[in-house]
């Protein structure tokens, strides 16, 4: 985007855009020169989260940043507040982790280097798309970023090239495209009604009514499909089960949540008072929790369990809608914090869990749960990582999942919305059921030993660090949440 700027950009803006645009460039560079070790990847990538940290510090001191580009008569807006900054930081950390993991994965899974080289530009594209989504403040940028994210994600899913992966990727592609068209239709209606594309202007110009409502309904349906919320989650599990581990990790952790993020942004700005519809979303979320949990309990392969768990966990996020719609400020603040904490905790934990599961599968050479017997002896670290990540997913202390669940419960109880309390309780128990099902299989002692392939130590380490981060976020939640609280809600 080499467009003339309105005003000389601030240092912060420059840093932000550098941080956003660096990954694709790095990705392209890595395509030509694929990294063979983890350390260079980490070294090259580390400045990005550091830059974001600095930006966050600036934001917390001086309030949100915003700005606009002009491009052929179009004005494209962006803004960076606490939430966007935190999500950006989370994204960069996860990308870095999966990039590092991917190096090890390639080596351990013996993927041909040429095949794998494609991973890097796609990763860079995904990083740029996610970053754009967090900071975008108009629908056009959002649309472009969403599509970029969807296409790069599909591309990454297809990389293994197996029949399953192709099939699942095809399904993902079709549904992602249709979902974006539904979203585009909603955008069209909004644009027609208000003539604005920037979020702030849209919020100011739109008035609650049939048009906004229908537009939001169509748009939401599209985004729900992309976010794999029950009952539109059908494409998610096959995709996760067949993709490479770093890809599934990124996808489960971030990609589906980007759609949720957009939906939340629009919903809060345009139809914050649509209580009934918000309850429907909450209901869908609840069903997702139940359905995902039950399916995970019955799944037979390890990665499937993890994938189904994503379906279930995404449901928790949806509970934010009823808790934010038409409730008191106290409830809304609680629910707002809970949602983003849950998102962050789940992102870290899910990535860690996918990586741990990937390590188990890769090292053990089996994918079925029942074949895991003895894993606790042979692969203690991977299993431990899996366990720590599972603690967050179950929402047991001292994890981020726990703190988020505490906030959600508090919000639900304060608002008197008891059904969500039941959902949270049942969801936790279901999660515990499938998580410990894995452990029950792994703890079996009387089993034939099979050969364990040694994995690069970094793979376990990356996963463990992510899981520990999710755990530490539980008690260390005050810093990010304070940023969120200062910022307030849109």
């Amino acid at each position: 985007m080499s467009a003339p700027l309105d005003a000389p950009p601030s240092v912060e803006a420059v840093v932000l855009w550098l941080a956003l645009l660096a990954p694709p460039l790095l990705g392209l560079a890595a395509w030509r020169l694929p990294p063979r070790r983890m350390l260079p990847v980490l070294l090259v990538g580390t400045p990005l989260p550091l830059a974001t940290l600095w930006l966050l510090h600036r934001v917390s001191v001086g309030g949100g940043l915003e700005g606009a580009w002009s491009l052929a008569g179009l004005r494209l807006h962006w803004h960076l507040d606490g939430l966007a900054g935190l999500l950006l930081l989370l994204t960069q950390l996860l990308l870095l982790a999966s990039a590092a993991y991917a190096v090890g994965h390639r080596r351990a899974a013996a993927v041909p280097e040429r095949t794998f080289a494609l991973f890097w530009p796609l990763l860079g594209g995904l990083a740029a798309a996610l970053g754009l989504i967090w900071v975008a403040a108009d629908l056009l940028t959002l649309y472009a970023a969403l599509e970029l994210m969807g296409l790069t994600a599909v591309g990454m899913m297809l990389l293994p090239g197996t029949g399953e992966a192709l099939l699942a990727g095809m399904r993902y592609l079709l549904y992602a495209l249709v979902g974006s068209l539904a979203w585009l239709l909603g955008v069209a209606l909004l644009l027609g009604a208000t003539g604005r594309l920037d979020l702030a202007g849209l919020a100011a110009a739109s008035e609650p009514g049939a048009v906004t409502g229908i537009a939001m309904a169509l748009l939401a349906a599209g985004l729900l499909l992309k976010a794999a919320i029950f009952p539109l989650h059908g494409w998610l599990v096959p995709v996760h089960a067949s993709a490479w581990t770093p890809v599934s990790a990124l996808h489960g952790a971030l990609v589906v949540k980007a759609s949720f993020f957009i939906l939340m942004q629009l919903w809060q700005r345009l139809v914050p008072e649509a209580v009934a519809a918000a309850w429907l979303l909450g209901l869908l979320g609840s069903l997702a929790v139940l359905w995902g949990g039950l399916q995970a309990c019955r799944a037979s392969a390890l990665k499937q369990v993890v994938a189904w768990s994503t379906v279930g966990q995404l449901g928790y996020l949806m509970l934010a809608f009823p808790l934010l719609a038409g409730t008191s400020a106290a409830v809304a603040t609680l629910a707002w914090q809970a949602t983003w904490l849950q998102l962050a905790g789940h992102a870290l934990a899910k990535a860690a869990m996918f990586m741990a599961a990937g390590n188990l599968v890769l090292a053990d050479g089996v994918s079925r749960l029942t074949d895991l017997a003895g894993a606790c002896r042979q692969l203690p670290l991977a299993l431990m990582t899996f366990g720590i990540a599972a603690v967050t997913l179950m929402g047991l202390p001292p994890s981020a999942g726990f703190t988020a669940k505490w906030l959600l419960l508090q919000a639900a109880i304060l608002a008197g919305q008891w059904p969500w309390v039941v959902v949270l309780v049942v969801g936790t128990l279901l999660t515990a059921t499938y998580v410990f099902r894995v452990f029950r299989c792994a703890f079996v002692e009387a089993s034939p030993r099979h050969e364990v392939r040694p994995l690069p130590a970094g793979m376990d380490l990356v996963a463990l660090l992510l899981a520990l981060a999710a755990l530490g976020l539980g008690l260390g939640a005050e810093w990010p949440l304070a940023l969120l609280r200062e910022e307030g809600m849109p």
Binding site: Q337, P380, M394, L409, Q410, T428, L429, F436, A446, L481
Partner: protein, 501 residues
């Protein structure tokens, strides 16, 4: 060392030990043993330091906010340090025991790692300064004990682990919901801020009663109150040190300690009495006491019998809480320690019999007193204490419970106590009779199921020493109950300082 640092160091000792153990390779037997014992000793001395400090009026608090209006609080008060002292003392002994017990068995690294985590959680429970912090460690305890329960990896162990989780996780959820409701109602209640709930309006009273029972149910699962006790006898499949820890310190005590905290430090004893909650507690405890004893009587194997005995004995604590009055409170608090000492002795001994002679059933114990005199002596001390005979500590608890019941105007509790004593006698005396007075393989009658001759003494020294030590402790704590820093004295101090109504 500042107060906060001391607290963190105490908590961190076992945590760091656990992490280091996880990092060590499986073969590093010596290093692991050294770390285990070193950490246990360091922790014990740190706790002793805090006991000394507390008795000199020092304060030990550390806190930081986790959420808006919700803090993570660690605070050593008299009551907490009592439990901390128990857990660190018994951790040391159990560690010694476990080192001997698990010699040459697989997965020791995992075992000791989670063992350390388990103790760290127990310590966290004892030092928690509000319900939130308590819950954090309470759930952590559930998680860290699971690998210990299923340690053997047999299908029976895994099934027991499943049942264990079903009970404890469900209870944990109930607890969490109850705590959140309480939080919504009254904000962040630090332990000891009893006036917050007491000052709520009368229209909140029914809600408070309901919440109380929800929370009691949550704690009651770990404390194995009937009918929430189902997991405990099944968890017997775990290795002996785990059973010992589970029954004596960690899990059941955590539940009982939670009830203590809830009644004394959150609701306040007066409010609980006003709301009529204590009578219900007494009834629940009485039913549990009798039910546990009756079930124990029906068991043919040693460990299940001990397990049901735990069900019965832990409820003494609850019973003491329910007896609104200083004596009942003293009974509850001191029994927290007393039961730990006695029960851990019994489990150590049961483990010794199983390890050395392969004995699991009671009728295989004939004449074991001659073969393993010190173990049998320790077992005898524990059993007599459970029956409530002086000078073992069990008598003190029973005495204070009985007199407390009279003071509380519930003389029928004495019937429960005496009936429980008789039942205890009925299931322990035959065991003792078999140990000492029946001719067995050492008298030339029959043979041991699986004799192993683990050491030059009657069994492995690492196994023998802890059992004898805890037996001695429970004997001394009873005989020297009038000495300063004895459990009874400390409980009296707690009551005098904080809970006298």
């Amino acid at each position: 060392m500042s107060g906060a640092l001391l607290l963190l160091a105490t908590l961190g000792t076992s945590l760091v030990a656990a992490v280091v153990i996880f990092l060590l390779p499986e073969r590093a037997f010596r290093a692991r043993t050294g770390i285990n014992l070193g950490a246990a000793l360091v922790k014990l001395s740190l706790v002793a330091w805090m006991v000394w400090g507390l008795s000199h009026g020092r304060e030990y608090v550390i806190e930081f906010p986790v959420l808006e209006g919700l803090a993570f609080v660690l605070r050593a008060d008299d009551l907490g340090i009592m439990f901390a002292g128990l857990s660190s003392l018994l951790w040391l002994l159990t560690t010694i025991y476990a080192i001997g017990y698990l010699e040459d068995s697989p997965n020791r690294k995992r075992f000791f790692g989670f063992f350390g985590l388990c103790v760290a959680s127990t310590l966290g429970i004892s030092l928690a300064g509000n319900l939130f912090t308590f819950l954090v460690f309470y759930e952590l305890l559930t998680l860290s004990t699971y690998p210990l329960v299923v340690h053997r990896g047999t299908s029976k162990a895994l099934a027991a682990g499943k049942v264990y989780l079903r009970f404890t996780l469900t209870a944990g959820m109930g607890l969490m919901v109850g705590m959140v409701i309480l939080h919504v109602l009254a904000g962040d209640i630090r332990f000891g801020e009893r006036e917050i709930l007491a000052e709520l309006g009368p229209e909140r009273r029914p809600l408070l009663v309901g919440l109380f029972w929800v929370l009691i149910a949550g704690f009651g699962v770990k404390a194995a109150l009937v009918p929430l006790h189902g997991w405990l006898p099944r968890a017997m499949v775990a290795p002996a040190p785990v059973s010992a820890l589970l029954h004596a310190v960690a899990v059941v005590k955590a539940g009982a300690f939670g009830i203590v905290r809830l009644v004394y430090d959150v609701y306040g004893i007066e409010l609980s009495a006003e709301l009529g909650l204590l009578y219900g507690l007494v009834v629940v405890a009485s039913v549990t006491i009798l039910f546990g004893s009756l079930r124990a009587l029906a068991q043919q194997e040693l460990k299940p019998r001990l397990a049901y005995s735990t069900v019965s004995q832990v409820s003494y604590i609850v019973l003491g809480i329910g007896l609104f009055g200083p004596l009942g409170t003293i009974a509850a608090l001191s029994h927290l320690l007393h039961q730990g000492l006695m029960k851990i002795t019994l489990f150590f001994c049961a483990g010794n019999y199983a390890e050395e002679l392969g004995i699991h059933r009671i009728d295989e114990l004939d004449g074991a007193g001659r073969r393993m005199p010190l173990t049998s002596l320790a077992f005898t001390v524990g059993a007599l204490g459970m029956i409530g005979l002086p000078p073992v500590v069990g008598f003190l608890s029973k005495w204070y419970l009985g007199t407390g019941a009279i003071q509380a105007g519930m003389p029928w509790v004495i019937i429960v106590l005496v009936a429980s004593s008789l039942l205890n006698a009925a299931y322990f005396l035959p065991v003792l009779g078999r140990l000492w007075f029946r001719p067995g393989p050492d008298h030339g009658v029959g043979a041991w199921p699986e004799e192993r001759r683990l050491g030059r003494l009657e069994t492995h020294g690492w196994l023998l020493v802890p059992a004898v030590a805890t037996a001695l402790f429970s004997l001394m704590a009873g005989m020297l109950a009038g000495m300063p820093f004895s459990p009874l004295e400390w409980a009296t101090r707690v009551v005098n300082a904080e809970y006298l109504p």
